[in-house]
Symmetry: C2
Subunit: 221 residues, 2 copies
DNA sequence: CGTCGTATTGATCTAGTTCAAGTACAGTGG
DNA sequence: CCACTGTACTTGAACTAGATCAATACGACG
């Protein structure tokens, strides 16, 4: 394992110099999870900041009727648990490793001390928060007001854009993608087939999708 | 107008002493808006923190298809605009005064200085952020996975609980409530009638609702 | 090569939207 | 104080997107 493996890749610690990163590294704890393993559950006491150093973590909630809603897909370098860094709260969501995943955590108290010492950290945390809030606002608006077809079209073009390519592998199982978009796997299947029939995309083997006409795709109502 | 009218009622400035509040007050700008007036729009440059000192502000987004989604209802003491306090961004939502409303604003630069001087402010901002994030996560989950009936039932009991009474006036027009819950005014009407027929609530004149059986209401699927 | 989880496809069903028409109601001006 | 007007709300009837249920097909992996 490389030195600073988590610490150095986390945006919230950028702008800190080597010796400071060393200090942080020394108070961090490392964990490894296998694919499918639960990292945290709703109702767990929330007293640590979690950093994904490698792998992929699915963060989801359960509704009263037991249905699952995927909220975030944390990639390496992303953090979770900020929501209650200063208050005693409990988690409201579940975290599950989708692939073998390395995670480090910092205890609340230690993190608070860090923030006192290096104010730039809190500014970075605020930024991360802000982005997440904006993203979630968009997600809320779109699940509440747009058709499944439009949401899926959006998701495909956004994913392609962020990967800078027209051909990419879906990073999620259809089941998870379905809960992310607030629908069912069956509907996803059907809509993808429909997009293909319209010539907007091409489905290749192994969850690989090629987008043929992003503009037209976005016009989907 | 009372001295410190905005500043003193904002949770993010709590723990600060009088002279500090004076300083803050001196850099704040005041505005008044009439009911129905637009306070900000999507795409506006976001360079101020906004504080609602009196009144009520509806914050909403527009989806691609033009439909409106209500995100927050800001009450006096609440703030908005934190999302981009440190980055140049543009607004993604609209703000509209629902009743005559007083607002004060602080320029980004001034606020950043404040945070440097009084670190407790940034901690308070983090907390506000965190709460909003948690609330929005719940809203996302529930619009995406629960029936309109369940969401409405939830909204009614939560509102009642937060006001500490069983009889209350809906703080929103049905039209706005509908976009908040991700549905239509017609559906709200019908569901309320249904709840009344089931004896779970009683509808009185002028948007006043009395909850008769909160427990049963929550069991609505 | 069989087995288990995942994906597709088809048929049916329903919650909620949409459109349209009518009603209550608050505010304004005479 | 009442009539007038515009907005909000309700109710009904028809329609549809998408969920659900069930059966089948696929594909990865031991």
């Amino acid at each position: 394992m490389a030195i600073h493996e988590c610490v150095q890749l986390v945006p919230i610690f950028q702008e800190l110099a080597e010796p400071q990163l060393d200090t942080i590294e020394s108070i961090v704890r490392h964990h490894h999870y296998q694919a499918g393993e639960t990292i945290f559950s709703a109702d767990d006491p929330l007293d640590q900041l979690m950093i994904v150093s490698a792998g992929q973590v699915k963060v989801y909630q359960l509704a009263a009727n037991g249905r699952e809603q995927l909220l975030y897909l944390l990639q390496s370098g992303e953090i979770d648990g900020e929501a209650a860094l200063f208050e005693n709260q409990r988690r409201t969501s579940f975290g599950e490793a989708l692939v073998p995943t390395d995670v480090c955590s910092i205890r609340r108290e230690d993190f608070q001390n860090l923030m006192q010492q290096y104010p730039s950290i809190s500014i970075n945390v605020l930024n991360v928060f802000g982005k997440r809030l904006t993203q979630l606002e968009r997600q809320t608006t779109s699940t509440a007001t747009e058709s499944v077809e439009a949401r899926l079209a959006n998701y495909l073009t956004e994913t392609a854009a962020s990967l800078n390519t027209n051909t990419f592998k879906l990073p999620l199982k259809k089941k998870d993608l379905a809960t992310f978009l607030g629908t069912t796997p069956e509907t996803i299947s059907r809509k993808l087939t429909r997009f293909e029939q319209l010539g907007l995309i091409t489905q290749k083997a192994g969850k690989v999708i090629q987008i043929n006409d992003a503009d037209q795709l976005l016009l989907t109502e």
